[in-house]
């Protein structure tokens, strides 16, 4: 088997696009400032550092998208986890944060798998409830919102120049790749995404698999929340809002089918990198916010037109 056929088309094109972004950016900086800032290891490490938060969130999102579901509760799961971690503080805060992830994942999973409410609307409701709970928490009085030592360690600090958030991202990635490719759970997830009825008839306990996927998604969200809280040195209410649509976009840019059942984890990493690099390069090029949004949208459509077109329905 050749290397090209092993790495599938979306990932290859995605990697090519990353090179293209960096090349265009470098041409721009060379002509205006005479430096190739985009190729410096410092800059690239900084992008990985920032990209890790989106990468971790998108990794979780991919788990539910593989099943053909979606999790709209990610923004406030992330924010709630981080806000509780800072409000309680210390190791107990971090444990609470993980507990929030587990609980939200279980509730989402139960609603989607056992009550069979469409995930789109159930997770939307859970998101609103979490928002409400956090407004209650911060409304009457202002709780502690400065990041704890653990969060700073995860989100801000570096060892030998490598940001810890990148290491966390790598660990999360390794775990998920292991789950997806080396465990029955991973196989079942792909099976359910393709045809839930078939998986059920083959004896897969599909409802438990769905719950597991939602738990993984929420856990990723709170881990990203911990790290992001550390990076920005505090937890605040709308901190997760900027991660919902980009994380879905990252998963889809990586070649995962939004209807489920198809997609490789490496694609999601590439997708997250594309989004982070695109935003960063455009802002260094002093592109206005308006044009950045337009280019961002156009890139998603353009890339999907190349490799992610659906089949024509004709039977």
């Amino acid at each position: 088997m050749s290397l090209v056929s092993k790495i599938d088309k979306p990932i290859l094109i995605g990697l090519g696009f990353i090179v293209l972004i960096l090349a265009v950016g470098t041409v721009y900086t060379l002509s205006t400032q005479g430096t190739a800032v985009f190729l410096s290891p410092n800059y690239l490490m900084q992008q990985l550092h920032v990209g890790a938060f989106l990468g971790i969130t998108a990794a979780g999102m991919m788990m539910v998208i593989l099943l053909g579901h979606i999790d709209l509760s990610v923004p406030w799961t992330l924010a709630a986890g981080a806000m509780l971690a800072t409000a309680i503080g210390g190791p107990l805060g971090a444990l609470t944060c993980i507990g929030v992830g587990l609980t939200v994942g279980l509730v989402n999973g139960l609603g989607v798998a056992f009550l069979r409410v469409p995930s789109m609307i159930f997770t939307l409701g859970v998101n609103t409830v979490l928002l409400g709970l956090m407004v209650m928490l911060t409304g009457g009085h202002a709780p502690q919102s400065a990041a704890t030592d653990l969060m700073l360690f995860l989100g801000r600090d570096r060892t030998l120049g490598i940001p810890h958030s990148v290491i966390v991202w790598a660990l999360v990635s390794l775990t998920l790749v292991f789950v997806l490719t080396r465990t029955p759970l991973g196989r079942y997830m792909y099976a359910i995404g393709n045809q839930e009825a078939a998986a059920y008839l083959s004896g897969v306990r599909t409802r438990l698999v769905i719950v597991a996927a939602f738990v993984m998604c929420s856990l990723c969200a709170v881990i990203a929340g911990l790290a992001l809280g550390g990076y920005s040195a505090r937890a605040y209410q709308a901190m997760g809002d900027a991660y919902l649509l980009p994380s879905i976009a990252a998963v889809v840019l990586g070649g995962t089918n939004i209807l489920g059942g198809q997609g490789r984890y490496a694609g999601t990493v590439v997708g997250a990198l594309i989004i982070v690099l695109l935003q960063s390069v455009l802002s260094v090029m002093q592109m206005e916010e308006a044009f950045r949004q337009v280019i961002y949208g156009a890139v998603i459509i353009g890339m999907l037109l190349i490799y992610s077109r659906g089949r024509i329905v004709n039977a």
Binding site: I121, L124, T128, A290, I301
Partner: protein, 348 residues
């Protein structure tokens, strides 16, 4: 009798949404200290934009998709409207028409990307949503613009005020107290939705939502149906943008607001009894779905602080209860899960 029962069974979602709205609104009316037509007017003002955005979402959900660009499109039309509706007299009418055309054109573009680009609606509209928001920011980098005050006042008020402002008619008695918002809705439903529902394309949209392959085999023009549904969705979102412009009198490329409208529109569609899997429901249910959502927040405003339920009156608790009620409402539909004999029938 039999036909009535059949009609109810066939529109259970719609009936439930109307029932829920009537109950919630009755609670609100009974608690309101001085209820009157002016309160209806205020309620209509707060609800209309959400209703229209919900109607836009309904069109795409009907064909089995999801539109994440309804909020941004509303925002874009709002910013565009704050420019083209800024004149006086006849130019405002042209501006309104231009806004409707922009909405429909953007919806049509969504449709083209979905139909000819063969990209899933949710992803295509995620991307176009970013583009529309970008364009809105381009038109209004900072909130601003000012549309004609008389116009904005007269057309977001009741029939009497409309007459006074332009000197068209004098006091019309009780008739003049009717707010304009329900009239807009009735006009849109009677002139756009009901005729559309009866055309071959309108029926085709339901067929496509139920089963695209079956619709294709039956000779339904799938592409035309999808394009029309997206164009109508854009038109409705455009109407929401126009109303928002009249309401706030200026343009604001507010990204969080756009996202909130998009997410709420999904909730209104579901509460209104339209299936997220497509193929059943309609915009009339969505109107009541949006009214249900708004009624909930209205009620929180009038709960007396001293009563037994006074603690819920705290504005801090409102988002929490809204979420809980939404979850309960959608979980009610899960009752069938416990009644099925063969669990296989759940995996539709």
């Amino acid at each position: 009798m039999k036909t009535l029962r059949f009609a109810i069974a066939h529109n259970l979602g719609l009936v439930l949404a109307i029932g829920l709205f009537v109950v919630l609104y009755a609670i609100y009316v009974s608690m309101h200290p001085n209820y009157g037509m002016n309160v209806v007017l205020q309620n209509g003002n707060e609800a209309l934009a959400l209703i229209l955005v919900g109607m836009a979402q309904t069109m795409v959900v009907l064909i089995g998709g999801l539109d994440l660009s309804v909020g941004p499109l509303m925002t874009l039309v709002n910013c565009f409207g704050s420019i083209v509706m800024a004149g006086t007299g006849g130019s405002i009418v042209l501006g309104v028409i231009a806004c409707m055309a922009l909405g429909a054109a953007c919806g049509f573009m969504n449709g083209c990307i979905v139909v000819y680009g063969r990209i899933q609606p949710i992803i295509a509209t995620l991307a176009t949503g970013a583009i529309y928001l970008g364009l809105a920011l381009f038109l209004r980098p900072t909130p601003g613009g000012r549309i004609d005050g008389d116009f904005a006042w007269a057309f977001t008020n009741d029939i009497n005020e409309l007459g006074y402002t332009y000197g068209w008619w004098e006091d019309l008695g009780w008739f003049g107290l009717i707010p304009l918002q329900p009239i807009y809705l009735i006009l849109i439903v009677v002139l756009v939705w009901l005729p559309f529902r009866r055309t071959a394309t309108g029926r085709g949209c339901y067929a496509v939502g139920s089963s695209e392959a079956a619709a294709f085999m039956s000779g339904v023009k799938i592409n035309r149906c999808k394009l029309t549904a997206f164009t109508l969705a854009g038109f409705f979102a455009g109407c929401a943008g126009i109303y928002l412009t009249m309401q706030i009198g200026s343009g604001n490329a507010d990204a969080p607001q756009a996202a909130e409208y998009t997410l709420r529109s999904i909730a209104t569609v579901v509460i209104g009894g339209t299936s997220l899997y497509g193929g059943s429901g309609g915009v009339i249910g969505t109107i009541f779905g949006a009214l249900v959502l708004r009624s909930i927040s209205f009620i929180f405003r009038v709960v007396p602080e001293s009563s037994a339920l006074g603690f819920v009156a705290s504005p801090l608790l409102q988002p929490f209860f809204e979420g809980v009620i939404l979850l309960i409402a959608v979980s009610l539909g899960a009752a069938r899960t416990f009644r099925v004999r063969n669990r296989l029938s759940l995996f539709t």
